[in-house]
């Protein structure tokens, strides 16, 4: 496994590995897993998926300052280079790209890639500028690594929707692959930020996955379930946690992220929907979601 500390180096390593593959007869495909490090099994699942379809797997580890707001956790975002490298090595990654901030932004960037509409809601509304920072850095990483495919976790569902839209709009010749959320045994979605949680907060945070499960369960039992019913259910369930502070608890179409009126009967929708949560426990803001197609949800036969 190669570790590239700057842009010139990663380009050189990729070129070299591509040449080795082409000498072996084929044209090599490159899979990129962009991460902010402090890797967990969710990231590992992306690497495994990348390995299945790409000859060369590159992961980037870069805590991107321009996607953090002024009062967010850029400085204290958890970092552990040695553990990250060990995990990447174990997963058979070919190249780890860990640039310094000064290498990615030698001067403050004047250029931004912005995706409108999709970024007006959910995390985009709570974190102004966040998705501009994401789409800009992802564009930079794409231009540096030139991958054939890039792998993102479905936990950041809005990020997936934004990146897919960007790739279509800008004709980027890259396959965007969203991989399922990986959860702890008790349901908590893996996140690098889980390390911030106290034991009590971690325990209360289970309300997120529990309320998502409840929505899916209710979808099976109640054919006439509306978007408003879901919103009420989420607020009630999350309200059972004494410390949870809801940022949003929403149901929208996916991937368009269009809002649904309260009286919309979900089963009558033809598109997928996302139930998306952002909730603070103490100082830590966690997100979670589930995406499903209501019209395809099987119905539970309730025996009278």
């Amino acid at each position: 496994m190669k570790v590239a500390r700057n842009i010139a180096e990663v380009r050189q390593w990729i070129k070299q590995l591509r040449q080795q593959h082409s000498q072996a007869g084929g044209e090599a495909t490159v899979g990129l897993v962009p991460t902010m490090g402090f890797l967990h099994d969710g990231h590992a699942s992306l690497m495994r998926r990348a390995k299945q379809t790409s000859d060369i797997v590159v992961i980037s580890i870069f805590v991107n300052p321009i996607q953090f707001g002024p009062n967010e956790d850029f400085e204290r975002y958890p970092r552990d280079e040695q553990r990250d490298l060990a995990l990447a090595e174990r997963e058979g990654v070919d190249i780890v790209f860990m640039p310094a901030v000064e290498d990615m932004y030698p001067t403050p960037t004047k250029t931004h890639v912005t995706v409108a509409e999709l970024t007006d809601t959910l995390c985009g509304a709570s974190r102004p500028g966040h998705f501009d920072g994401v789409s800009t850095v992802v564009t930079k990483l794409f231009n540096i690594v030139k991958p054939d495919a890039a792998f993102f976790g479905a936990k950041d569902a809005q990020q997936v929707a934004v990146i897919k839209q960007m790739v279509i709009d800008l004709n980027m010749d890259i396959d965007i692959v969203a991989c399922p959320i990986v959860r702890e045994a008790d349901g908590l979605a893996l996140s690098s930020r889980n390390v911030y949680l106290s034991a009590e907060e971690r325990s209360q945070a289970l309300v997120l996955s529990r309320s998502l499960e409840m929505v899916k369960q209710r979808m099976m039992e109640q054919p006439a379930l509306t978007a408003g019913d879901v919103r009420n259910m989420l607020r009630t369930e999350i309200g059972t946690s004494s410390i949870a502070i809801i940022d949003y608890a929403e149901i929208m179409t996916f991937p368009q992220l269009e809002s649904l009126e309260d009286d919309v009967v979900l089963r009558e929708l033809s598109s997928e929907v996302i139930v998306a949560l952002a909730v603070k426990f103490g100082k830590t803001r966690l997100i979670d979601n589930t995406i499903f197609e209501p019209s395809l949800t099987p119905q539970t036969v309730v025996h009278a």
Copy 2:
């Protein structure tokens, strides 16, 4: 010469030509000349320059709707496909990419590439949104063609500055080559929009190149020439045309496009400067410019 009418086709032709080159032993380089068509000798000079350094020369012909304002000349922008193809053929172009608007924008783009600061002045101030449209479509063309180098005319000097900044900021692995302005024998800078001019307007439009020449002449004669002197000179000279309406007549640093105070002595500057004009003659807005390094301007010895 291949003519590709859509994105899939141009990708296919480029891939095929690249393969032919790699079978011949080398890795092919691709040069892109993005144009809006109605080609003239200024465009031809870009193609010739591209041919000198690229194995495969691709030109795009696309009148990009999103870089035109609502009251601008998108609809009436001159088009002549047959003449354009003949010129491209004559210049030895390998592939002409002429997509339809529906192919480039199957749905209105949600994604924009914006370059801040550099776009606040000159044409950016007069044409809000223009440069967002330019940097967005150029990004799309870059992602479709994947050129090693792209060639732009220096007449659109601000465009060159914006594209160069975008390429640096987004780590696009593309060499941006600016080629000198091509002029008619009488000094008029070539432009597809010159066709709009009446004989009288065309004659009066010579004031543009004449006033730029005058600035360079004065630079040689007056070591203490200030930015304010240049502004006065431009306004006076352009004012000699009875129909000229100045949009801007400016002197700024290049390529940063930072404004210069009136009392700045040009020879004391360490950077290049641009003298940039945008002037309306009748309904037609023309631009012209000259870029030079004041500290390197030779001085004329005036014999007493």
